[in-house]
């Protein structure tokens, strides 16, 4: 793949890649932009090289996921060395998985989108990842499993359970929203 082809491919999937970076950073837009930028630079300068073993989309999503993990790990190490309490954002998304966090507060979403993001934040990380990759990024469950680094059967289980839980949460949130109105 030449540099021009690589840039063209990347340009075509930046929007959906940013969505994946947002999902990896608990919808923290600043952190997501940093992750996306670091990932794109890795791809452009050859630190992450596409070898054609998977589709380009799954490869790019894998790089973004890895980059987000590295940044979280670095933030954790820095906090231990400097003996300062770690910010919730820096441990995203796992620590926010079952928390009461409202990541949508940082973004200017429509009401329905904000409700979806709040519901996603309450799912376990794996389920959230699989659902995001399937519904937001339009990957198949098999591709999502490859990106998330789990077996296909495991991904199917996460998909089914996540969908069920999300449906319940969206129902609860809808009722809560109606009550607030």
């Amino acid at each position: 793949m030449t540099r021009a082809e690589l840039e063209q491919e990347l340009n075509g999937m930046l929007a959906v890649s940013r969505g994946w970076a947002l999902a990896q950073t608990s919808w923290n837009a600043t952190e997501a932009d940093d992750v996306l930028q670091a990932s794109v630079l890795k791809l452009l300068d050859g630190r992450a090289r596409f070898d054609g073993r998977s589709s380009f989309r799954t490869f790019v999503f894998g790089v973004i996921r890895q980059t987000a993990r590295e940044r979280r790990r670095r933030a954790l190490v820095r906090s231990v060395i400097l003996l300062r309490p770690i910010a919730r954002d820096e441990l995203a998304p796992r620590e926010l998985a079952h928390g009461e966090g409202a990541p949508d507060a940082r973004l200017d979403h429509s009401r329905e989108s904000a409700r979806l993001v709040a519901a996603l934040a309450q799912l376990p990380a794996r389920q959230r990842e699989i659902l995001h990759l399937v519904f937001y990024a339009d990957l198949t469950i098999e591709e999502a499993a490859r990106v998330a680094g789990v077996a296909l059967g495991t991904a199917r289980t996460h998909y089914a359970r996540g969908k069920q839980k999300l449906r319940e949460l969206l129902g609860d949130l809808a009722h809560a929203g109606d009550a607030n109105v």
Binding site: E7, L10, N11, L14, A15, V16, S17, R18, G19, L22, A29, D33, L36, Q37, V40, L41, L44, L107, H109, S110, E112, S113, L116, V117, L131, H132, F135, Y136, K163, L166, R167, L170
Partner: protein, 141 residues
């Protein structure tokens, strides 16, 4: 019936995610913007670390000079004085002379007692030694 419900749920989820994607789409940067931002950050990072290029050699030179000064100003230890040997080897003519010069030569011939001196200063003879004193003979009255 349940399959229809699942399909409906899935459709609803897909449309909810599509709405979220559409909300986010305008905020996505272009590749050129990302690269330009990275270049700006690199340019800002260089002057911040430039002092290191000067500070590291200067620190190294200062530490070398300090170590040299410490070693130069410390008092030099005096060379150890030569001690005479316990026995002047040059004065002995033969191995017999060496034996005669040793303290063992002053022991009585056939001595087999202890070489550890007693509190009185004499060398004690063991109980079964031949040099034990013979008890005085008793004569009939």
């Amino acid at each position: 019936m349940s399959e229809h419900k699942d399909e409906g749920d899935e459709r609803n989820l897909r449309s909810a995610f599509a709405r979220l994607r559409n909300d986010e789409a305008p905020r996505a940067p272009t590749l050129a913007e990302l690269v330009a931002r990275a270049n700006r950050e690199d340019a800002a990072r260089v002057p911040r670390l430039a002092w290191l290029r000067l500070a590291l050699p200067l620190t190294g030179a200062a530490m070398t000079a300090f170590a040299w000064w410490i070693s130069a100003s410390a008092p030099q230890p005096a060379p150890p004085a030569a001690r005479p040997p316990l026995i002047a080897l040059g004065s002995l003519q033969s191995p017999t002379d060496a034996l005669l010069a040793s303290p063992l030569a002053s022991l009585p011939r056939g001595f087999s007692g202890s070489l550890i001196p007693s509190p009185s200063g004499s060398l004690a003879a063991p109980a079964n030694s031949h040099s034990r004193a013979v008890p005085a003979r008793r004569f009939p009255a």
